[in-house]
Amino acid sequence: MNEIVFTAVFGVFLLFSGLFIRSKNAIRFIAITGMGLAFLVNGWEYFHPGNDWPGGMIHADHVSILFNAIALGCTLVYFLLSGKDFEQLGEHLAEYFALVYFILCGVGIASSFTSLLMLFLAIEIISIPQYILAGSQKSNLKSNEASLKYFLMGAFSTGFLLMGIALLYGSTGTFHIGEMNLGGSGIDPLVLTGILFLIVGLTFKVGGAPFHFWTPDVYDGAPSVVTSFMATVVKAAGFIAFLRLFSIAFSADNITAHWTLVIALIAAATLLVGNFTAVFQVSVKRMLAYSSISQAGFMILALVGLGTLAWDGILLYAAAYSLATIGAFAVLIRMEDYTYEGYRGLGKKQPLVALANTVFLLSLTGIPATAGFMAKYFVLSSALQRGGMLWLVILALCCAAVSAYYYFRLIWAMYFQEGEPAILPDRITPAFKGLLIFTALLVVAIGVYPGLVLNWLP
């Protein structure tokens, strides 16, 4: 709850400081400091649990606070790595940072809601600033188009989400996810329809197949700085909300029997579509967009599992995937040419940057000793716990093998192909290199010792 209040108020504060402060460096400094403060304020709540929100609509337990810490930490890394690139979006620098703060406020609600009203508000608070950020380059047609598409699709999926909530309310008479008592003998058809609508709405939001079609277009069209955030922290928050809702409200045995197969099929479709389309991309940015779909497929596996292992897996996945993708995008933003050819010879020209990028790509593939491996391991074992899901786990492993192809193609281009990398050398500062290496080390550290994240769970 501290995180929600702090980010909201600090976002407003940033808006106003944008009115009075002209210096871009000062605004960036304020934004980064605020993110550090938010991390501390959120951590403080871990040790001193505060009061719940009046009305009992929000309850921040240790899992929520841990996820908030991951989200805030990743955003801090993101601000430090790519904060300078916000200046390319347009002239309203403070507003862009403020919108990120508002998104994080929504993330805080998404990780700790106990009422469907708060779920709805969280998803909207996360989405609406993203529509603006996606279209922030006003004279760039691709950015405009991405923004409009994202907006129309996002609002459309909100309709489904709301219909699901309304049907569930119609059957149970409450919005409180802990008080629905769906485990009784007879199951109301309204409940099943409602769950189906909720699955459709939430799958839209997290970009799972068959509702993924907006994802590559929007991620490709939006400015790279924005995509980097949309594809990571925001996506992870969507999954946390998804898992929280399903593990609290719909986990009774006679209810899971109805939706597990649907979710498993969605996971399988997402994995197949994401991986096999990513193989054919020529642009690295678009490849990363499809790879984010395939990673979403792995995160849906945690929903199939629904246990403590699933929570371990999704939290690790959030950290591993967000850090690696933010790092990979930070390198991408500094390229002039977004195709694989642009990366040729990067290993010789910028060895440290190429090394860090390699670590990120290995982590996304799921090579042992990186965070991605541990995350995939926990997610897959949580899915295995649920009987009859062996086929899905085998499919996921095959897809991980396919994903190695397109990630390794980039590593191949960086190290083994001759050429002049299309990188902007004046934007590779020593500080940037240091941070990139630090992020890569963090990815390796979580991979070697996942307790770094998981020991904080009760």
């Binding site: 009203l117 609406i128 529509y131 405009n144 409009l148 219909m163 049907l167 490709d220």
Partner: protein, 99 residues
Amino acid sequence: MPISNYIFLSLALFCIGVMGVLIRRNAIIIFMCIELMLNAVNLMLVAFSKFHHDASAQVFVFFIMVVAAAEVSVGLAIIVMVYRQLHSVDVGVMNRLKH
């Protein structure tokens, strides 16, 4: 009146909205259809609120309205921005992202 009538009415409105979104090509019309979907939900929530003698759904409706207004303002701004660039709000014209 039985509650099922309200459910049928709002589901019918919802389906009209969904079909509109899927069929129409004008961004503004699509947006109006989305609003229709949201209002179908509002109607259903109010009917259920009466049915359960519980006012929390009515408060939910207020929140939906306010969030929809926020979406309208952002969405119209985006549509105006696109119109100034392309001089059209036809979603079929937008194909720069398809490779």
